[in-house]
């Protein structure tokens, strides 16, 4: 595995006096460039009364500032041909764009303008409808819904159980004043990392960001961190409009700051990759479940292992038994060298392929800085993954016991009659 283009990629960083960090990975051979603003805020930083505000606020940024209307914002982005968007998770709100190099400055400037939004009442009222439609859409997407429900059950009172979208009730009850208050506290420059990748001029990008953001005042945008392994409760819900059973299971994992997260992701690949994994051979290959996957998610100071399984309701008890059996086997005998090597090859090639585009690098670059104030090149990640041994993975299995899990299923009504 050759970390391609290595040697001509250069890492640069600087911090503005108000605390905003700027990091860049410059690659003059790239055809495009990408820029992102990573705000360290998400549903875990909300109170129950304003649940969903981070995500709603993300939508509101696109409505413009004092100078630009929503339509003008959209036109300004589209004039650059940018592939741009934003996403909100439990703990991050990320605004990004991939563009041809000649448009990078224009798009970066636009984001810096939008990061100081007008939050107009009329836009707020209109966008509330869109958020409610988004909530409705995910209700009709059971594989998403079951993960959201399971996460809430797994984390219980821990802040990571808060839903990103919020509920109909919390969104309807939300005011623009409450959103403004949340914005003022969380969108502080010392709580934002600007990251850029690809074919770009780092000094010029920094000058632009400093000119635009240099006078933003810093606040105390704190986030108390606490580790939590899960409630390990079980819940099953029936719905009239479903035909399959959707099952989510979650167990304890470690945070982004813990370097063992690479071993954790190899373990998830061994157990639940979509091909050749333990789940694949025990559940998908024998046609007991049509989907059975596991993923490791490392978050801020906490983490989780997720499984998602979709099958017929009559096969669900059997699928559950098989999964428990897999977890028991792992706890007693661990993984094999061959399993580790296969998983390693898969993870390394996915990393190589993803890293070939600036957009693929941007999220890694940004998150490494958000969580750890650390730069990791593709070569660093490859080296970390290469160094993992069977013992490393087996000791994780001992420490983060897969057998203790939370589970949530949503199933058709009258499942006994269904096939």
């Amino acid at each position: 595995m050759h970390p391609h283009r290595e040697g001509i990629m250069e890492f640069r960083k600087t911090t503005l006096s108000n605390g905003m960090a700027i990091v860049g990975e410059i690659n003059p051979a790239a055809q495009s460039a990408a820029v992102g603003f990573f705000v360290r805020t998400g549903s875990r930083d909300e109170t129950p009364q304003i649940n969903g505000v981070s995500h709603f606020l993300e939508h509101m940024l696109f409505k413009g500032n004092d100078r630009l209307s929503a339509l003008e914002v959209n036109e300004a982005f589209d004039r650059t041909g940018a592939k741009f968007n934003a996403f909100t998770s439990e703990e991050n709100t990320v605004y990004y764009a991939a563009v041809l190099p000649r448009f990078l400055a224009e798009v970066t400037e636009l984001w810096t303008e939008l990061l100081r939004p007008a939050l107009r009442q009329s836009d707020f009222d209109m966008e509330k409808n869109v958020i409610l439609e988004e909530i409705a859409m995910y209700k009709d997407t059971p594989h998403f819904d079951v993960m959201d429900k399971c996460r809430a059950l797994h984390f219980g009172d821990h802040p990571c159980g808060a839903s990103v979208l919020g509920t109909n009730e919390s969104i309807i009850g939300l005011t623009s004043e409450a959103m403004r208050g949340y914005f003022d506290l969380r969108y502080s420059p010392n709580n934002i990392v600007a990251a850029c990748c690809g074919n770009l001029d780092f000094e010029a990008t920094c000058e632009l960001i400093e000119r635009q953001c240099g006078d933003w005042k810093a606040t105390e945008a704190a986030r108390p961190l606490s580790y939590f392994g899960g409630t390990f409760q079980k819940h099953r819900e029936e719905r009239a409009n479903l035909v399959r059973e959707h099952i989510c299971m979650m167990s304890a994992g470690m945070g982004m700051q813990d370097q063992r997260r690479f071993a954790m992701s190899l373990l998830a690949t061994i157990v639940g990759d979509d091909t050749g994994s333990l789940y694949f051979w025990e559940l998908v290959d024998p046609a007991i479940a049509e989907t059975a996957v596991m993923q490791a998610e490392a978050m801020d100071g906490v983490g989780a292992m997720y499984s998602y399984i979709r099958c017929s309701p009559k096969d669900a008890p059997r699928a559950g038994e098989i999964v428990r059996h897999i977890f028991e086997d792992l706890a007693s005998t661990g993984i094999t060298q061959a399993e580790l090597e296969t998983a390693r090859n898969k993870v390394l090639s996915a990393l190589t392929i993803k890293s070939e585009q600036p957009m693929g690098r941007l999220v890694n670059l940004g998150f490494n800085w958000v969580y750890s104030r650390e730069y990791r090149s593709v070569a660093d990640d490859i080296a970390s993954i290469r160094a993992i041994t069977v013992d490393d993975v087996n000791s994780l299995i001992g420490e983060f016991d897969l057998r203790s899990f939370t589970s949530y299923s949503i199933a058709p009504e009258d499942a006994a009659a269904a096939t």
Binding site: M1, H2, H4, R5, A29, A30, Q31, S32, F62, A70, L71, N74, E75, F77, D78, R79, T80, G81, K83, L100, M126, K128, N129, V130, I131, E133, E134, A136, M137, K139, D140, T141, H143, A240, N241, L242, V243, R244, T275, G276, W281, V284, D285, P286, A287, E290, R310, S312, E341, T342, N345, K346, V347, L348, S349, A350, T352, I353, E356, Q357
Partner: protein, 410 residues
């Protein structure tokens, strides 16, 4: 962004295409095998979905587990798909494993074991996928939409039909493999880091032997209903709408792409602005152009709560209808730069290029260079796009809704 094209035709007629990409460490390849949903015999809809799983359950010297282990051991990321014309067998991987991967794929394509007990498992998985579509109304509405819109057999769902899948027997599927896995009708493409001479030598050895008759011609039959409603007690009404457009083989291909971009390319596009920004009717709304060889359509998806469904579809139809009145210079410029950016960013992805050159070759009989596409986009004008829309004024729409409420439609 000058790109180079490698091309070679094997003795048996199989076409080998390549696009080298400087500076990448990966390679991606695609086999387009003429076993798509439209190529299947009557009453066998979904056979290709079964076959795409079955052929990986043991091939050549390897049983199912040995084969999957060997593929996984190469760190290979498989992408298998059933489209109208093809069973697409693609993969992306680290370039030094390319040759080993081609050996395995040659086994899968030429020497699949096709064991009877494995067939039943593949068939069951395909049946479960079709049943499971009911839990994914967003996807289901588009599957039903194309089924209604395109004349038989072009609208057949790749995922299959339940009755046909229930009736499918191993011998039926094996016969289809034997008949359609024909090197003479197969296109192979590779992009990224590779040695073309070495690839051609290897492919000549792996796929030697005579080809069959190539691709049969398909005669289009009749299309489906103009409005189909599928009751579903969900939170939203899922709306799919489609109308005819000039295909890729038409002179108007670039004009129509610009027009669709004006309609739904970016966030300043007409649908996003009118449906979401001004009226807050939907979260998800968007239109896209998709083309077969001699037919194409512009389709639109929107999801909205039942009380807003009628207004949503009315606004969408109005936007389609008023497109022929013309576009502005600003809209044209935004559409062009958006399409050009997509093109250049695609050129950084080996998977995107491998599938791009193969599909060009199939649809047009040649591969367009990125420069050619860029130039043709560049010469589109307000006048040419407006003329194109006047010539191809949208008249007939096919509509499918899934949800708790029907809507008024003509």
């Amino acid at each position: 962004m000058a790109n180079k094209l490698d091309k070679h035709v094997l003795k048996n007629g199989m076409v080998i295409l390549g696009e080298p990409m400087p500076g990448v460490g990966s390679a991606a390849f695609d086999f387009l095998v003429p076993c798509g949903s439209a190529m299947l015999p009557e009453g066998r809809c979904g056979a290709a979905a079964v076959i795409q799983d079955w052929i990986f359950r043991g091939a050549g010297e390897r049983n199912s587990r040995q084969l999957i282990d060997a593929l996984d051991g190469l760190g290979l990321h498989r992408s298998t798909s059933v489209s109208t014309y093809h069973l697409g067998l693609g993969a992306a991987l680290e370039a030094s494993n390319l040759s080993a991967a081609l050996e395995l794929y040659a086994d899968v394509i030429r020497r699949p074991r096709l064991e009877v007990d494995q067939f039943e498992l593949s068939r069951q998985l395909a049946v479960h996928e079709v049943i499971g579509l009911d839990d994914d109304p967003r996807q289901k509405v588009m599957v039903r939409l194309y089924e209604q819109f395109y004349p038989e057999p072009f609208g057949r769902p790749g995922i299959g039909k339940l009755d046909d899948l229930e009736a499918l027997r191993p011998l039926d599927a094996a016969t289809i493999v034997e008949r359609t896995f024909d090197p003479a009708g197969t296109i192979f493409s590779v992009a990224g880091k590779y040695d073309f001479d070495a690839v051609c030598r290897q492919m000549e050895r792996l796929f030697e032997g005579t080809g069959g008759k190539g691709r049969p011609e398909i005669t289009p039959g009749s299309a489906g209903q103009r409005y189909l409603h599928v009751p579903h007690a969900g939170a939203q009404v899922h709306i799919g709408l489609v109308t005819k457009a000039p295909p890729i083989t038409s002179q108007r291909y670039y004009d129509i792409n610009v027009a669709v971009s004006v309609l739904s390319g970016g966030m300043s596009s007409r649908l996003f602005t009118e449906v979401r920004e001004k009226r807050g009717l939907c979260y998800a709304v968007g239109a896209r152009y998709s083309t077969l060889k001699h037919m194409a359509g512009i389709s639109c998806y929107a999801g909205t709560t039942p009380e807003k469904a009628q207004e949503t579809i009315d606004v969408i139809r109005d936007e389609f209808n008023r497109l022929w009145e013309g576009i502005t210079q600003d809209e044209l410029e935004r559409a062009k730069v958006g399409l050009e950016s997509s093109l250049i960013m695609q050129s950084e992805s080996s998977s995107a290029r491998a599938s791009g050159i193969a599909s060009d070759y199939f649809l047009l009989g040649r591969v367009r260079s990125l420069d050619e596409i860029k130039e043709k986009l560049e010469v589109t004008s307000v006048k040419s796009v407006t003329e194109c829309l006047a010539e191809n004024r949208f008249k007939d729409y096919t509509l499918v809704t899934i949800g708790p409420r029907k809507i008024e439609w003509e």
